[in-house]
Symmetry: C2
Subunit: 125 residues, 2 copies
């Protein structure tokens, strides 16, 4: 009996710790565009405009804001290039690259999901 209770207690603690871990991750990744931006940068460095073109629907204001937050959290680096009209290059930091696993899983799930939706649609017709 004591053993069983202890086990449950440990498991409950385990859940809490894991839920908190998810929450921690979510806090860093919150915002409508952050994960899309990181995904885009996971393919290589990008300039401001390139990001705006690649992240569908984002405006300059939001892009700017979310990039700042990502930089503050040490996930990306920002480099001002000394070109005629200045350009700025964004890049995933080493720490930012540790998010790659999450991104990859999201890519896989999304690809699979789209396939499923199409299959479901075909099955109906």
């Amino acid at each position: 009996m004591e053993n069983k209770d202890a086990k449950i207690s440990i498991n409950e603690e385990g859940c809490k710790v894991k839920l908190r871990a998810v929450q921690d991750t979510l806090d860093i990744l919150k915002g409508k565009w952050k994960i899309s931006i990181i995904s885009s940068l996971s393919f290589g460095k990008r300039r401001f405009m390139e990001l705006q073109r690649e992240v569908d629907g984002i405006g300059a204001k939001m892009l700017s804001k979310e990039l700042q937050e990502l930089e503050i959290n040490g996930l990306i680096s920002r480099t001002v290039c000394d070109t005629k009209p200045i350009t700025v290059e964004y890049e995933l930091s080493d720490y930012g690259k540790t998010l790659q696993n999450i991104i990859n899983e999201m890519i896989d799930w999304g690809l699979n999901h789209r396939t499923n939706i199409i299959e479901r649609y075909k099955a109906k017709s």
Copy 2:
């Protein structure tokens, strides 16, 4: 030259497809609480109140709304139990369980991130 251009073109297409995949996933998971709810359910079935207790800070209204959306997308199942005051049990569907990889990566990253923050703090003092 033609080869090189073709390669670039293919890669660019690859990025777009992947970014769209991420977006597809994000569309399903959007909302302040959805990932937390799924995480909680990934540990087993939960009743409405249990979820509200486990997902820190969520109100009944939001919990109800996000559960409905998750159900519509086929990620969770809802079972009304015929008890004296009725109870309702929520559970990840088989399809919902395919999100487990994403959740796990988020747990890992969050655990690691917390450690890093603590290390960083220690280093300063």
